[in-house]
Amino acid sequence: MRKEAFISLCRRLSGRRDHTLVKELLPIVTDYCRRNKKKKLPVVWIETNDSGDNNISFLNTTYPFADKVFTDMIDLLYSNTFMAAQGGAALEILDAVANKEQYTLVVEGAVPLKDNGLYTIIARTEDRNITALEAVARLGASAEYVVALGTCASFGGPSAARPNISGSAGVRQVLDREVINVSGCPVNPDWFVGTLAHLILYGRPELDGLGRPLLFYGFTVHRHCQRRSYFDRQDFADKLGDIECMFSLGCVGPRTNADCPYRQWTNYVNWPVRANTPCIGCTNEDFPDGSTPFFTPLPQKRALGRGPKVRLGAKGTKK
């Protein structure tokens, strides 16, 4: 498939009831791998400081469902949530992959930097702690691609919300290399699976200024919002539950890049503005502090500022 056709497929504003992105992508990927004698994409998925919402959102992939992504598209070599192996066997897998194989690193969650990263320990051995900071630094250095999954991994997100007492930061602040940020709180499963498909078929996707694939983050929520005509007529909602424009109730759609209005969520059935509530800008670099108070109109949201900016002094670990 030509890359242009793939991109338009990913961006398709389909109202067709049986359209799902994964249904279109999986056969293209399996066909490509078979013809080019390529293996599935080897993935190491590290969970750090996060709620685990991104792996739950990934499980809402339709249709086919998330298990088909495991069988047809990726080899999920390490994942705290999904792997059958446990304890030392799981760590041995991680070691073997890190030392021998080509892999894509997926990081789900922010990385605490304070106290040498002790605020998130991904595993322990008999005599030491493996912090998220160590795991991301080491695995990120040798990975073919690094994908930051969700807003915490991309930019710090809620884990780094003020006052950020764990000193949490996005993956890009730990690694001196390109990180593909697939932000969202949580990520939409299509954004993640679509990005993985692009990595397999064409390599690195084109990114915006924040390192996000233009495939999915190219336009603002406002641009495609079904209530845009209300905005243009200055017809604003008085209260939650109203059918008019949610700008008056704090909507940050005008400054949020995502395709929620037509992509929607969980089998494409709904999205926050259609649920008569504001978009809270969960894909943004400054989420959540730039979006709170959530129900205050955008111009009046207090300039709360984020927690202390994280800067790494050590050479080689600072972006």
Binding site: N80, A84, D115, R124, P163, S166, G241, T292
Partner: protein
Amino acid sequence: MNGKRVVFSPVTRLSGLLSVEVFLDKGKVAEANVSGTMFRGYEWIMRGRQLTDAVYMTQRICGICSLAHGAVSSYLLDKIFDNELTANAQYLRNIMYAADFLQNHIRHFYLFSLPDFVRMPPRPPFHRQDVADLRLSSHDNLRLAGHYAKAVKAAQQSHEILTLFGGKVPHQHSFLHGGVATAPTADKVNRALALCGEISAFVRNAMMPDTELIAGVYSDYFNIGVTPRRLLSFGLFKFGAKNERLWWPSGVTDDGQISVPDLQQISEHIGRSWFEDADNSVDGPGQKPAPQKPGAYTWVKSVTYAGRHFQVGPLARLIITGQYQGGTSTMDRIYARSLETLFLSELLSEWLKRLEPGPPPIHQKHQPVLSEATAATDSMRGALLHSARISGDTVTAYNIITPTAWNFSPKSAKGERGPAESALVGAEISKPDMLFTVLGRIVRSFDPCIPCATHVLSPMKPPSPVDMEQRNRPSQSSTFCT
């Protein structure tokens, strides 16, 4: 400590990051320390924000049970604003909440617990599965392993019901203080009913028989991982204009009579948790994180009721409401969760039929009538409590006590083990290669959720600023296993 020390880490197939340290003596677990190893500090995050930010902010504590935090913070705000809830609002809220329970329980049983008992296909992510004690016949095994994919679909369908009304999930948008912002239109209700029918069929025809089969073949686990019979539930599914009625009543029992829980009896202790000891109580000063504190081994606080640890979750809920007569073992916890899934799939369909199509059932008041309040409800994993103090419309203190903090409590001030620790202690390890098998089954039966359990920190004093310059480089070890 006597005995041989073994570290079981990472405990995979659960929400978040958990490590378990055990000491083995004469083929038995003599002592156990369970460690939640991640910390974010959500209660600090809530301080200084507008009270109405609580629902969307606190949902982000948890990915697999996000609506639980949204629900309890909505109840909290209902109190503070003195909202009146309509019957339709309560049905819709409970439909959404029950759908998230189905999602959680189905995913826990099939994605997390199943590989403890069933041989999975030998490909990622199931490679290097622990196969020391897999007992199903190949015929049964094939069927149950095949249900993994069906469960992925049924859990997605559960979340689709929640999204129909909630806008998105995890972290839904419409279940807020005052009701639900989405209109329960006939097309949404019909689609939800169709999905519910498919989920119910899966629970009835796969999940329950699969649970029965595993419970029969691994019946020794009715005697393994037994905890003291101290059980607590805050009750589940609120109804009434003031959230005053419960579908399943609350209760607390210490091996006997069931009484109504008194929230004043709850206290937290940080002696073995990574927080600075000030006066060792939550309301005292201090509470700064101290990840290198000697003697501490977890970010989870010890939570007690009347000075003792209590188990929470589906098993506690079903025993307290008289819907399950059994013990407090590993298999009882697994069985009760599946049974509850069956009950809830039936309730969900009933509630959907009682919903009256109409406008969004939401009526928010905006003037606080209280300056502090506490709300409690059961959630997927058990008793969940939020409390807040406000000044004007701004949060000055926010406290959260999660179910996993109850179940994965470290030792209390008196040295009493938490429920998970007490379940582990005494477990017999017949062969060395059975160790992680046994420990994993016991731990997972509690359905731990560590992001929930370890955000906790009571912000009664202003936080000290984070010194961002004091940073060490990540250690450059070449291997994780050493």
